[in-house]
């Protein structure tokens, strides 16, 4: 009985994914304004930022303020590795490109994997000493890290072309590819979160000492969750570089970190469904709220735009959620087919874990 449901649910999920991807494909090839395609693509990327941050913040309970730095590592990795050597030669104006990178060019997908790996490596580099000092230092250290990364980009022009940034990055990641990768990331992260690994992270989140006393190496779990989170941040960053085609150090200001935090808090600390919904809300809001930053003309009145007003609005939104909607939109609830069907059939049969396990024999 349970097994039949499981097979049915998996089937429905696959069908749903195919439909979504198909729809995105049609969208991409339609004559619709590229602007909307861009928003949808941003959405997919923010899903990755949010989901990667959720593992760390919602599960392990660690607050990192350096997500933007890790995203930046991923972005620059993809940019540098996919840029054509001839383009590098003409666009590195401050210094000629270092021989390390001048003649390198690899295809997008290996570059994207390397983006994840480099970010994970930097994650390891930051998290290990910071977590040795104890959890409270992590926020500070990671905040510093994000700034240091930006300074490195500015001050190593032979590698990163300084504040001019990188242009003409091949735009290999279209809407469909972006969402396919986003779905894959969500899938992997969710699998981790619902395994013994995720369970142990939650235990650490609730009571570190209690977990340690049961034989769990709290330090290892913290570091590994940071590294995994960094990996996915790097993947998201790589996709972003490829979408934008142009990046510079200012692309990676703390706004990106704030976005990740807002998405997780708004969506629900442990709900992937929540993250997907809230990334959509965040992406659309941050586009349409541009209005408040540009001048508005109402009849004969002209209101000047307020630069930075969006940040202010998101700040208030975050405050509001924390004060009045503790669990965000979904808390730790997840969309499930069983739930959807139970809306139609009013007979409530809660599937229990033991039954599932028993049914497998």
């Amino acid at each position: 009985m349970e097994n039949k449901n499981k097979a049915r649910n998996n089937f429905l999920t696959i069908v749903a994914v195919i439909i979504v991807i198909g729809a995105l494909y049609l969208f991409q090839n339609s004559s619709i304004d590229r602007y909307y395609i861009r928003i949808l693509q941003y959405w997919g990327i923010y899903v990755i930022f949010g989901a990667s941050f959720q593992l760390l913040y919602g599960y392990t309970g660690l607050l990192s303020l350096g997500h933007a730095g890790l995203i930046a590592v991923g972005s620059y990795t993809v940019a540098i590795l996919t840029l054509e050597p001839s383009v590098k030669a003409i666009s590195y104006l401050l210094r000629p490109p270092s021989p390390l990178i001048a003649n390198v060019q690899i295809p997008f997908f290996p570059a994207l994997i390397l983006a994840g790996i480099f970010s994970a490596f930097f994650g390891l580099l930051v998290a290990t000493p910071a977590l040795r000092l104890g959890g409270d230092y992590l926020a500070m250290v990671t905040l510093g890290f994000a700034e240091v990364i930006r300074l490195l980009f500015v001050n190593l022009p032979a590698l990163f072309n300084g504040s001019m940034g990188l242009r003409s990055i091949p735009q290999s990641a279209n809407l469909v590819i972006t969402w396919l990768i986003a779905i894959l990331c969500v899938f992997v992260l969710k699998r981790l979160e619902t395994s013994n690994y995720g369970r142990n992270l939650l235990a650490i989140n609730e009571d570190e000492i209690g977990a340690e006393a049961l034989g769990i190496s709290v330090f290892k779990y913290k570091v590994s969750s940071f590294v995994i989170s960094s990996f996915f941040a790097g993947i998201g960053g790589g996709l972003m570089a490829s979408m934008l085609g142009t990046i510079d150090p200012n692309t990676f200001k703390s706004t990106l970190t704030n976005a990740a935090i807002t998405i997780v808090v708004l969506g629900g600390m442990r709900s992937m469904t929540g993250v997907i919904i809230s990334s959509g809300i965040y992406t659309i809001m941050s586009e349409y709220l541009r209005v408040v930053e540009s001048p508005i003309v109402l009849g004969s009145f002209k209101f000047p735009g307020i630069p930075g007003a969006r940040v202010l609005i998101f700040g208030f939104m975050l405050l509001f959620i924390i004060l009045f909607m503790r669990n965000g939109i979904l808390g730790d609830k997840e969309f499930s087919w069983d739930w959807l069907f139970s809306l139609f059939k009013r007979r409530d049969r809660k599937p229990s874990i033991v039954e599932t396990k028993g049914g497998e024999q």
């Binding site: 992997v188 699998r191 981790l192 395994s195 013994n196 690994y197 369970r199 142990n200 939650l202 235990a203 609730e206 009571d207 000492i209 209690g210 977990a211 340690e212 006393a213 049961l214 034989g215 769990i216 190496s217 709290v218 590994s224 229990s352 874990i353 033991v354 396990k357 497998e360």
Partner: protein, 258 residues
């Protein structure tokens, strides 16, 4: 050979000597009581044995190996698990999840296994469930299996915490005041529970307990400390008649050792 052998354990915090020259050799299968007035240093002994504090002096041997200075989680790996005085359940998790976290050290599947849900992962997860359910059944906690730990009656929470420690499959348990805060009925239940652990699992226990009634009814051997010093050791009758113990508990003379 003793299972646990504490040699000259001393813990100093600045000028304060919490525990001085604590010695104990506990044989496999024994249940030993550790008692003493408030602030005597009992929990500090546990903290030194389990790696939460590094003793200022002395050594701890477990199962023939020197475990002094080892990290708490590695000490659990060796088969020594403690239960805290002020409960440390994962209150927002349900009962079975608490048990499953306790079983982690027997979980042999990599992260890749868990992402791909390989047969290895599934076998491990299935085994973990079966063993946990089995333990909950034996310990009469199975009815609470899906309840949120923090919402259970206090007496059940204390039991669950001991059960969770058992799911690490220890050779020895250190229990820090498992019956504190329980009413008479609950604490009788706890006495039965601990005796059951000894009888069914043949486990070695070092038990800190305030309630004389509980200690006297479970432990054939009792160690008494006061102000960090070991003042007596013996069977319940000897302890009952010991003048120093009597004075320590009445607080007649604080400097009885001198």
């Amino acid at each position: 050979m003793s299972l646990l052998d504490a040699k000259d354990l001393t813990m100093r915090f600045g000028g304060l000597v919490s525990v001085a020259n604590f010695n104990a050799a506990i044989e496999p299968g024994e249940i030993v009581g550790l008692i003493g007035p408030n602030g005597a240093g009992k929990s500090t002994v546990f903290n030194m044995v389990c790696g939460f504090y590094k003793p200022t002096q002395g050594r701890v041997f477990f199962d023939g190996k020197d475990i002094t200075g080892m990290k708490p989680n590695n000490i659990v790996e060796m088969g020594l698990t403690r239960v805290f005085q002020n409960g440390r359940l994962f209150k927002k998790m349900n009962v079975i999840e608490n048990m499953l976290v306790g079983r982690q050290r027997h979980f042999k599947a990599s992260l890749l296994d868990s992402i791909l849900r390989t047969p290895t992962y599934q076998q491990n997860e299935k085994l973990a469930y079966e063993k946990s359910i089995n333990l909950l059944e034996k310990l009469d906690l199975i009815n609470y299996i899906h309840e949120e730990a923090g919402k259970l009656p206090f007496g059940i929470q204390r039991k669950l915490e001991v059960a969770r420690a058992m799911s690490t499959k220890p050779k020895m348990l250190l229990l820090d005041e498992p019956a504190t805060g329980l009413n008479v009925e609950e604490s009788n239940d706890m006495i039965h529970f601990i005796t059951q652990l000894r009888d069914e699992f043949n486990i070695t226990i070092l038990l800190i307990e305030h309630s004389m009634r509980v200690v006297m009814s479970i432990c054939p051997r009792i160690i008494v400390i006061d102000h960090g010093e070991t003042i007596a050791e013996g069977n319940p009758d000897e302890i009952r008649e010991n003048q120093k113990v009597f004075e320590a508990y009445l607080g007649v003379d604080d400097n009885v050792e001198n």
